[in-house]
């Protein structure tokens, strides 16, 4: 209870560092989830609704990437963005942009895989029906996406959940720089390493509360959509 009170006082208090940490966390999670959804949802629709040569291999590779360890994703992005790496000139290492890039690498396969699973349930019936009416494959995919829109919200939320709770990749490419790239998870890790367990637990609760509020809001919106549908 004591931790919970501390968590709420932190969340609604005026600590400038915590406000900045929450801001960076939300900014990073929002952008990485949005970019991953823009890539992952169309790709998932394509995989889930079409039959093509090599589809099973594409699915196997995507399923493998869904389990990509965050530290490996972080390492890949670090190597690409480091001074001697191919994109070193961009000087993106230890910035929020680098953290977003690493998270996109992690989250896109998850969103792609979940989307493909959702779409593949309806795909055979839709494909038969659409072929019988002479509907083009592109329009068929658009209609499929429209029909699955409510389920896609859960997919996006799963991606957001992964983004907001992720620590390994953002630690490597963000560097946990105070007032710049420090996010909730890396702050918790730092506090734990320093032995400030109470503060770490309070931060953890803040993270859970933020995650709960966002999930509840989005779920309410999607429930409204489902009722109207």
């Amino acid at each position: 209870m004591e931790y919970l009170i501390k968590a709420f006082s932190l969340l609604f208090g005026s600590d400038p560092e915590l406000r900045q940490i929450i801001g960076v966390t939300l900014q990073m999670s929002f952008f990485s989830t949005t970019i991953s959804s823009l890539f992952g949802i169309p790709l998932g629709i394509l995989i889930g609704s079409s039959d093509f040569r090599g589809k099973k291999w594409v699915q196997r590779i995507n399923n493998t990437l869904m389990g990509l360890p965050p530290v490996v994703a972080g390492l890949i992005v670090l190597l690409i963005l480091s001074r001697s790496g191919p994109l070193g000139k961009l000087k993106l290492l230890y910035t929020v942009t680098a953290m977003v890039v690493a998270q996109v690498l992690l989250i896109t396969p998850i969103i792609t895989g979940l989307t493909a699973t959702i779409v593949s349930i309806r795909a055979p019936q839709i494909r038969e029906t659409a072929a019988g009416m002479g509907i083009s494959p592109f329009k068929r995919m658009l209609y499929t996406a429209y029909d699955c829109r409510v389920q896609f919200v859960s997919t996006i939320l799963a991606g957001f959940g992964r983004a907001i709770a992720e620590v390994g990749a953002v630690q490597i490419v963000g560097g946990n720089v105070q007032f710049k790239t420090r996010v909730m998870t890396t702050a918790i890790m730092l506090q734990t390493n320093m032995g400030h367990f109470e503060f770490a637990i309070a931060l953890g609760l803040v993270l859970l509360i933020i995650s709960f509020i966002i999930n509840a809001l989005v779920q309410k919106l999607s429930d409204g959509q489902a009722e109207n549908a």
């Binding site: 839709i126 038969e128 659409a130 072929a131 019988g132 002479g134 509907i135 029909d147 549908a229």
Partner: protein
Amino acid sequence: MITLIHVTKQYENRTILDVPRLTFESGKRYALIGVNGSGKTTLLRLIAGTLRPDSGKIENVPLQNMGYMPQSPYAFDFSVLKNVEIALQKTPQPAEKALAALEAVGLEKLAGARGNKLSGGETQRMAFARMIACPRALLLLDEPTSSMDIKGTDQIENQLLRYAVANECTVILSTHSPAQALRLAQEVVYLDQGKIVEQGSTEQVINHPRVESTRLFLQHWRL
């Protein structure tokens, strides 16, 4: 004239269709009859092009001017009207034509309802409206009234006959009901275990079957 030559289809090493030769004349109405798993749906899907044969060829299918109603048609999460309209993308005034088709199948009152909220029978009627909303050279209907009551079946059968005659359309439908074949088709093809056992005029096949297997199948119906 649609022609199937040496068409075979296998599934998990089992031959589910083996047709040495079969022709469907333009403007005629055909019924495919047979028990479950006899190959009726596979044959329709092969003609519609949603399934590819393992061997053989299918000639002269007017794919650009064809309507295929699958056994379980999908209703999109649009209005019923829009669900029919999407079948008329290359036709002028699609909304008016879609509404006229819905009136023909008795669904005009549900034009504004959501497609995915319809019952099984209503979904089939909506899917049938998609088929008759514009002139087509070929209609492939897979058990088009299987979820409908007697009144709905009667209405759809009447509309199908009217549409086929008015548009000189070739109709190939699968049905479990020899009575429906008698009412709708000029020719019947009886399938058993993926093979054509008997074919001929509806009157001849249904009332005077020559093959024992057809006789046994029809015996169950007469009982």
